[in-house]
Amino acid sequence: MKVALTLRINGEARDVIAPVHKTLLEVLREDLGLTGTKHGCELGECGTCTVLVDGTPVLSCLTLPVEVQDREITTIEGLARGGELHPLQVAFTELGAAQCGYCTPGMLLAAKALLDRNPAPAREDVSAWLAGNLCRCTGYLKILEAVELAAARARGDAPQPTGDGGPPAARVPQRSGGAS
């Protein structure tokens, strides 16, 4: 059964004709050329395929496009604004929070959803919120620090990046609790 759908992706209406049993992950990557969304376990067990639907993180490997037709879908391609990186992307780059980069799109989108809800998350809040995104390089500490740095900058609690390729930005002091 093929269906003609209009999906709202990163603020644009995209028309697609695809079999109804193709997952959102498959349609994004194979029909729409949006390969920023990564394809990992395909079974809900890793989180790398995370996208936002109306601002909420969901797994595109277990979502059918037909189920999210009238909703606003955000993929990693929609995070930067007109060539300007999102503050989370800047912080991830500066602090080395992306190693191989495979988990990074999912991490960034999940983190964006967190900061949209809670501009001042404690370390435990960040790690609980990102508990559905596995990093096979296990660079979790840098990821948590980068999310905290982006949040602190958005609040005006940390200096903005210099952009001159100078020394990496200082880490934000931990707000509470320990690493996990």
Partner: protein, 338 residues
Amino acid sequence: MLRLPPFTYLAPRTLEQAVGQIGEAGPEGMLVAGGTDLYPNMKRRQFEPKVLVGLRGIRDLGRISGTPAQGLAIGACATLAQVASHPAVAEGYRALALAAGAVSTPPLRNMGTLGGNLCLDTRCNYYNQTYHWRKSIGFCMKKDGDICLVAPGSPRCWALSSTDAAPAAIALGARVRLVGAGGERVVSAADLYRDDGMRYLSKAPDEILVDVILPPADGWRSTYWKLRRRGSFDFPILGVAVALRSGPGGVIEDARIVLGAVASRPVVATRAAGLVMGQRLTADLIGRVAQAASEPAKPLDNADLTIGYRKRMARVYVERALRELAGLPYDGAPGGAR
């Protein structure tokens, strides 16, 4: 790639339409809500329905209404994230909030529903595998084969009830409303389950779970404890839900203790709960109750970690849950934390 098998997708707007569509589809049809249990299973070819009837477009199924004083009705398509964070659930039905919040991961809780969780397929290390994996070991009777690979002489399947919400719902005295072509009926959450890893639900395949009805919460306190290897992602290998109603002077007037992931259905520890009736909770009594509650737990080698450990932890987790409710010091933490 693990792709879904082909199917036709129907998106009814009303419950009546859904009942008609799933009835018409017959054995070829299946219901789907969040899809977080069904889609992985379909990708591994545990199920290949020709027709899917998607419930998430039916607005009424997503509602949570009522108060702890009157009782609460939670629509089957409320997501686990909604259930876990709803103030009335947290206030009156803490075990359910803890259980919903301990399921899998944050994005899965944004997708998975309470109804889907209660109807979750039973699990087994030999079953939750890809088609090729299962084929390479000759299949088992739950799907495509004819023997049980865990207990080869057994005439039945021992796959585990692995829903976090069911033990909590049963401990809280919940009932579920089912609607099918034959009309509507309300059954206790405990009666939704059968002790059979293959036919694990007592409802007909075309009956739709519409809502979960929780009785007034006055005087009840409850908790849920979950054992798993990691603090996220993992299904329970043991769930313990305890609900207590105490009267004047802390005397226990009613008690329910329910274990999850120790059998093909949630296990209600009736004898153990009986031991606390009319008593005050002391450390000594709690030790005896925990021992009695863990007796029905007979783990088989079909889930994570070892049988002996899981059996021992049944006693330990019932003890911790009761100590928590009694205000005594305890190790660990309720819910899915580690």
